[in-house]
């Protein structure tokens, strides 16, 4: 499972970085999307890969923390997803504004000479 997860993160980051370095705004936003998926998975892996253990404890019962999954990374991911979603939406608006104002989808607002 570790192998699949790390390969998945690696492929996502690789594709994301490649897209990020492309000159079209659409490629940038897809690249950013892929990167943020990769980062979320990465945060998840920071809490160790554990299967079949609950993250929430019962009230009033003394429990052994070792039998539980770490809830903090999951909370972090939720926050990161929300923030990432909002900023991506904002970026999308700027992208459209740039497209409308410059008439091109190049990141610099003008086609390069080549």
């Amino acid at each position: 499972m570790e192998l699949i997860l790390s390969l998945g993160i690696g492929i996502l980051v690789g594709s994301g970085v490649w897209l990020l370095l492309r000159p079209r705004t659409y490629q940038i936003i897809i690249g950013l999307g892929l990167l943020s998926y990769a980062v979320n998975l990465f945060i998840f892996s920071a809490g160790r890969l554990i299967v079949g253990r609950p993250p929430v404890t019962q009230t009033g019962v003394r429990v052994d923390p070792a039998t539980f999954a770490d809830p903090v990374p999951q909370a972090l991911i939720l926050t990161a997803i929300v923030i990432g979603f909002a900023t991506t939406a904002l970026f999308l608006v700027i992208l459209l504004a740039s497209r409308g104002l410059t008439g091109t989808d190049h990141v610099d607002g003008e086609e390069s000479d080549r």
């Binding site: 990020l20 705004t25 940038i28 950013l32 990167l35 943020s36 980062v39 990465f42 945060i43 892996s45 920071a46 809490g47 160790r48 009230t59 009033g60 019962v61 003394r62 903090v72 990374p73 972090l76 926050t79 990161a80 923030i83 990432g84 909002a86 900023t87 991506t88 904002l90 970026f91 700027i94 992208l95 504004a97 740039s98 104002l101 410059t102 990141v107 610099d108 607002g109």
Partner: protein
């Protein structure tokens, strides 16, 4: 109930949040109401930050300064979220509020009409800034960073226009990537240490075993890249001058402190996490900061000389300021840090005033006037009217006189000439670098210190050249078609107020410097901070008892 300082700690976050949210319900045409609400909350912020500053700084030398810890969920640390106020945070809060009030007043001249929701965005930016200065754990730092950045995206684009959208696109893309790096760094650090609380991290990091050391260090490195992008260290800073130059004047003025957030975080975390063992001052981190800072000063110096417009000039001044701070941090000496903190306050005030001033000056100019001196003479023809004026020697118009005086004051501050505070700041940094007690420990002064001194002085010279050049063209020999800028009273007053603040800094340099020294010492010996956070008492007994 009497509000104790412990409860006031959260006010700098709550006030702008509530005031900003309330304004969403108001119609955008009711600007008077909105503006007065914003002014009111900023005044409150200023008052509270001064109170907090006085709370943290007690005059007796022995104590490490008071630390107020606000436990949001009333969980005992290191669990859950907490806010921590110490001297450095209180100083940054006060600086933010000092900048915010004049900037807001300035924007009421005309900028807040240039687009929707200016006041909400502005207040949310303040909330993000204050939160970033107060927070005691890494993940909330990320959250407040994002609040700050999201608001800043809106403020860069305020007033719209082609240039702003183009620069905004780059700015947002770069900052989104920086945020992702931030998250990766946080995840790595959490994966190794199992905590996000800064004080707890400071305790656990020295105990990390050998195998995890690399993970931790790479996490810290990735994290600091995110902050260095924000602070604008040289290879990561190409977005900065353009964005700051095209941002509307009040936004740019408050952005002057935004790049200092990166500096603040680096200063706090580097010394807190790696300060206790000698690793930081000798390890690669300090070297990178030092050389990166020197490169940034160099880049900023070249940029200042090459700038064709005043806006870009101010953008590069931000870089020089950041570079100086980064290089001083790289030296890891408490005395240098104290000077750097003084420089931080002084240069932030000066740059902020400069951004507002530039907008006022450029208002009267056409494109030709803002082009480089040499190019200008090539296609400049003398307007008859102006020529007559010059021959007769008509008195300089009052507006120009006031603007010119402010411009000169900004120049003196940025260059670091006496008598204003810029001089004191640079003097303290330089004298600390070459101070005798340091020199006696290490026989020779390292070459980098000489480089630092040379670059610091050179950057001042370059700033002086660039500012005299543009000053002559803006005020002394205004060229083709220059009309007198129409400046409102409430637009020039904020600039003057900011400059007067630096005058106060100069006159009160003694007490201010003592404060900075105390701050620097407590930064370099963070034990009271760590203990203060870890031993913070909860308000009530915990709500539930664990049953066997």
């Amino acid at each position: 109930m009497k509000l104790s300082p412990e409860h006031l700690v959260i006010a700098p976050i709550l006030i702008p949040l509530i005031a900003g949210a309330l304004q969403l319900f108001l119609d955008d045409r009711g600007r008077k109401l909105k503006a007065s609400l914003s002014i009111l909350s900023t005044v409150a912020l200023l008052a509270i930050s001064v109170l907090l500053l006085r709370f943290t700084h007690t005059d007796d030398e022995a104590s490490g300064g008071k630390i107020a810890v606000y436990l949001l969920g009333n969980w005992p640390p290191p669990f859950a979220i907490n806010l921590v106020l110490d001297r450095l945070s209180a100083m940054m809060l006060a600086l933010t509020a000092t900048l915010a009030l004049p900037t807001l007043i300035f924007s009421m001249g005309r900028w807040h009409k240039a687009g929707v929701h200016f006041h909400t965005l502005f207040l949310l930016l303040l909330m993000g800034l204050n939160g970033a200065f107060l927070t005691g754990d890494l993940f909330n730092l990320f959250v407040f960073f994002e609040v700050m950045l999201a608001a800043s995206y809106g403020l860069v684009l305020h007033g719209s226009g082609l240039l702003r959208v183009k620069a905004g696109l780059h700015y947002i893309a770069i900052n989104l990537v920086a945020s992702l790096l931030f998250l990766i760094g946080v995840a790595l650090i959490y994966g190794v240490t199992g905590t996000l609380n800064m004080a707890d991290l400071a305790i656990r990091i020295p105990q990390i075993n050998e195998t995890n050391q690399t993970m931790l260090e790479s996490g810290a490195a990735i994290l600091s890249v995110a902050f260095l992008i924000k602070a604008g260290m040289w290879p990561l800073s190409f977005w900065l001058p353009e964005t700051y130059a095209v941002a509307p004047a009040p936004s740019a003025a408050i952005f002057a402190i935004m790049s200092k957030v990166g500096i603040y975080v680096l200063l706090r975390l580097a010394l807190l996490f790696f300060g206790s063992d000698p690793g930081f001052s000798e390890g690669p981190g300090a070297q990178i900061l030092l050389y990166g800072g020197l490169a940034t000063i160099g880049f900023g110096t070249v940029g200042v000389l090459a700038s064709q417009t005043l806006g870009r000039f101010a953008g590069f001044s931000v870089l020089i300021s950041s570079g100086t701070l980064l290089a001083s941090m790289g030296l890891v000496q408490a005395e240098v840090t104290a000077g750097a903190l003084f420089y931080l306050v002084s240069s932030t005030l000066a740059i902020s005033a400069l951004f507002m001033l530039i907008e006022l000056v450029e208002r009267g100019q056409n494109l030709a006037a803002s082009v480089l001196a040499v190019t200008m003479e090539a296609f400049g023809y003398q307007d008859e009217e102006i020529e007559n004026e010059e021959i007769v020697g008509v008195a300089i118009p009052r507006t120009i006189a006031v603007l010119g005086t402010c411009f000169a004051a900004c120049a003196i501050l940025l260059v670091g000439l006496p008598p204003l505070s810029g001089f004191i700041a640079k003097f303290v940094i330089l004298s600390a670098i070459f101070s005798p007690d340091i020199a006696s420990q290490i026989d020779i002064i390292p070459a980098t210190s000489w480089w630092f001194m040379a670059l610091l002085i050179l950057s001042g010279l370059a700033t002086l050249i660039a500012m005299s050049r543009s000053g002559i063209h803006a005020f002394w020999a205004p060229s083709v078609d220059t009309t007198l800028p129409r400046v409102l009273f409430i637009e020039i007053i904020p600039v003057a107020v900011l400059l007067c603040t630096t005058l106060v800094l100069t006159i009160q340099a003694g007490p201010v410097m003592r404060f900075m020294e105390a701050t620097a010492i407590s930064l370099h010996a963070p034990q009271p901070y760590i203990e203060g956070v870890m031993n913070a008492p909860t308000m009530l007994p915990p709500p539930m008892e664990v049953v066997e």
